[in-house]
């Protein structure tokens, strides 16, 4: 048995209405015979059959409207020559009622009115149209300026635009950064990357000026210092390094870095930012590691998740960071992600350092040179390798008590180097 279906005579034919059957049940039909007339959008079309057989049953009556692909008759075929080709359009429900499309004319109307108005008075009505569209009034910022401000951590509401219609341009952002406009986001560690030279130096100094100027103006610093006996740590490290090849050896500064990161997990208040008059501690510990550049200036790119990394990983990260900092290959996330900064001036012979916090961070940890010093323990005087650790804290965010907890924790971790 073959289902004879409403044929598709064009991609724009969706349905057909039976006008007349040219056959009745029991009639013999041959391939090519006209068996019905169907009314379409284009007019009445004769419908031919593609099999030889006997009409078994007529499934629809004159006047019925059905979708293309709907079975409209059953034909009993003769012999083995039947070639039944199933309808390709599987999505069409058999015998489904015809549904008209329901396109909303309202949308078209709204669009055309808006377009019409825009055409009439493009300049004057732009704001009005925006209001009608429910859009907010928005500061005009060039895309390049927006990108740069984000890099600099600059709050665009504080920048005065000099472009057309008060738009903020790239130059406006650069100017604001130099003038030390209050930045409300991340640290102003962005310095121009690219070829070294006078421009690079100028940009570097300007970036440092902007950040440090702001730090000094805005942040009420408090300072705490402690001296830490590193004899256990140094001993452990010496043993540890004996097991390693020269290139895999760990420097003492890595111990300081890891200990700092771990201490911050215990005193999380020091890890984070002061933004919009609010202390915003951050969970992830990304330690900005201050790196001096040979030609002057410094950058403190972030070592991400320093608390979660092994000493070996930190060593690798640090070497890599130093190389890339000096060759200008830092990633932007490394420039902006630091949640705290560590500076180690010991290599330069400094005993202890009292630096400025990099806004909007709330703490700076400084280490001096590791020196052999007389040390009293249990009433005994001995010579021990000692380092000065200094905390600069933002008094808006934390108090000396918090700072002390941090230094104590730091001290404790450095006595148990093997656990770092």
């Amino acid at each position: 048995m073959v289902e004879f279906r409403m044929p598709s005579l064009g991609t724009d034919m969706k349905k057909g209405t039976l006008v007349e059957w040219k056959v009745k049940p029991g009639d013999h039909v041959k391939r090519g015979d006209i068996i019905a007339e169907v009314e379409t959008e284009k007019g009445v079309i004769e419908i031919e059959v593609f099999v030889d057989g006997i009409i078994e049953k007529l499934l629809i009556q004159p006047g019925d409207e059905v979708l293309v692909g709907t079975p409209i008759a059953l034909i009993r075929t003769e012999g083995q020559q039947e070639t039944e080709i199933k309808a390709a359009a599987a999505e069409q429900d058999e015998g489904a009622q015809v549904k008209e499309g329901t396109e909303s004319p309202l949308q078209y109307k709204a669009c055309s009115i808006a377009a019409h108005r825009a055409k009439e008075q493009p300049e004057q009505t732009r704001e009005k149209l925006r209001a009608e569209a429910g859009g907010e009034k928005r500061i005009k910022v060039s895309p390049a300026a927006r990108k740069r401000a984000e890099e600099l951590g600059l709050d665009l509401t504080t920048v005065r635009g000099t472009g057309p219609d008060g738009a903020i341009s790239l130059a406006d952002v650069e100017k604001a950064a130099i003038a030390g406009k209050p930045a409300e986001r991340k640290a102003a560690w962005q310095i121009p990357t690219g070829p070294e030279g006078a421009d690079f130096q100028l940009g570097m100094r300007r970036a440092i000026a902007a950040a440090m100027g702001r730090s000094n103006r805005e942040i009420p610093h408090y300072y705490l210092e402690t001296r830490i006996d590193l004899s256990r740590a140094v001993r452990w490290l010496t043993e540890e390094n004996k097991k390693r090849s020269v290139k895999d050896r760990i420097l003492p500064v890595v111990l300081l870095l890891k200990a700092t990161a771990l201490a911050l997990t215990e005193v999380p208040a020091l890890n984070g930012y002061w933004i919009e008059d609010r202390h915003q501690p951050v969970e992830a510990i990304h330690v900005g590691f201050a790196i001096a550049l040979r030609q002057g200036g410094l950058i403190a790119p972030a070592i991400h998740h320093a608390d979660l990394k092994s000493l070996d990983e930190l060593m690798v990260d640090m070497k890599d960071l130093i190389t890339r900092t000096r060759s200008g290959g830092l990633r932007s996330s490394e420039m902006t992600d630091a949640t705290v900064t560590l500076t180690n001036l010991g290599d330069l012979g400094v005993e202890s350092a009292f630096g400025l916090i990099y806004p909007p961070q709330v703490a700076l940890v400084s280490f001096g040179r590791i020196t052999d010093q007389p040390w009293v323990e249990n009433g005994m005087i001995g010579i021990r390798p000692v380092v000065s650790a200094t905390l600069a804290g933002d008094h808006r965010a934390t108090d000396g008590r918090t700072g002390s907890q941090f230094l104590n924790a730091l001290h404790r971790y450095l006595q148990e180097a093997e656990r770092l």
Partner: protein, 335 residues
């Protein structure tokens, strides 16, 4: 050979084979088109599709005058030309399906059949658009001194296009080897010739370009073949283009979705009475060159060929969508 004498058996056999070949081709076209209508109705084939029923003698008759080296430029009602030119039913059917195995890799569909091996340059669906291309192909042959011609099919509707007149002029002006074949089926879609032309005699237009033209009964295969051979010989002799007007009729609607509001059923029935296939079968039987058994076997072979074509198309692959923008520019540079 003396008239009245019985022809040599070998000659007779050759003639019979030739006639059987032509009959086979006409029947193949007719059955192929019927299958296309069926497949279209069941949505296996989409787009615009124009069937050739009734006009088979034109394509088959004219193709007899061409050699393998000649070029063919056809219209969008070109299934018949493609089959008669020798493109396989399989690759044409796969093209209808839009499959990769199609003669145009599925990218052309019913209206754009192409084949390089038989020098079949489309399948052109812009009325009149193929004529200048035929002129150019012939120009290339003439300049490069290749002894071949370009056969260009077009409908009588194209005669109203500027490209027809420009091309006739150019081909005649440069004495190019083009065989222009006008398939005059009396209707350009739904517009009758008399409603679109001030002069309805197509051959008269050729005269305006000093092109030799002949009108022939396009329902009579032998007449078409004879006229085409004559016209092609003249073209090959280097005397410039020739036009052949084949007066014919399409039995089916213009395209699938056409209720034929513009012509009377009685007119269609009258023309069907002049079916080129039926009359050729009659002729061969009268001449004793065809038996019912032979005809039946022929139909059987054709049914198999078409079943194979459908199976081939069904089994074909879809072009991967990653290949969408391929063939916009050539993959390689030519030499």
């Amino acid at each position: 050979m003396n008239a009245g004498q019985t022809p040599e058996p070998i000659h007779m056999a050759r003639e019979r084979d030739h006639n059987h070949h032509m009959l086979y081709q006409m029947l193949l076209i007719r059955r192929f088109e019927g299958k296309c209508a069926e497949l279209y109705s069941s949505m296996k084939i989409r787009g615009f599709m124009h069937l050739y029923d009734g006009e088979e003698a034109v394509a088959v008759g004219v193709m007899q005058s061409l050699t393998a080296d000649d070029a063919v430029v056809a219209t969008y009602r070109e299934h018949g030309h493609a089959l008669a030119r020798g493109i396989s039913a399989c690759s044409i059917m796969a093209e209808m399906y839009g499959k990769r195995e199609g003669c145009s890799r599925g990218r052309g569909g019913s209206m754009h059949l192409f084949d390089d091996k038989t020098r079949f340059f489309g399948g052109n669906a812009i009325v009149g658009g193929g004529l200048p291309i035929a002129v150019g192909l012939a120009l290339a042959d003439k300049v490069q001194k290749r002894p071949r011609l370009t056969c260009c099919f077009f409908g009588e509707g194209a005669v109203a296009e500027g490209e027809f007149h420009e091309s006739m002029n150019l081909a005649a002006l440069w004495q190019l080897p083009v065989l222009f074949v006008c398939e005059n089926n009396l209707y350009a879609m739904g517009t009758a010739l008399a409603l679109s032309e001030s002069v309805t005699d197509i051959t008269a237009k050729a005269a305006g370009y000093n092109i030799e033209a002949e009108a022939v009964d396009g329902m009579d295969l032998s007449a078409v073949e004879k006229a085409a051979n004559k016209a092609a010989s003249r073209v090959r002799s280097g005397k410039g283009p020739v036009m052949l007007e084949c007066r014919t009729y399409r039995f089916r609607a213009h395209s699938m979705f056409d209720p034929e509001l513009y012509r009377a059923k009685s007119e269609v029935e009258a023309w069907k009475g002049r079916c080129p296939i039926a009359s050729f079968i009659r002729l061969l039987k009268e001449k004793g060159m065809l038996t019912d058994t032979e005809l039946h076997e022929m139909e059987e072979r054709i049914a198999i060929e078409i079943d194979d074509a459908v199976a081939f198309a069904e089994a074909g692959m879809w072009e991967p969508v990653e290949e969408l923008t391929r063939f916009v520019y050539s993959d390689r540079r030519t030499e």
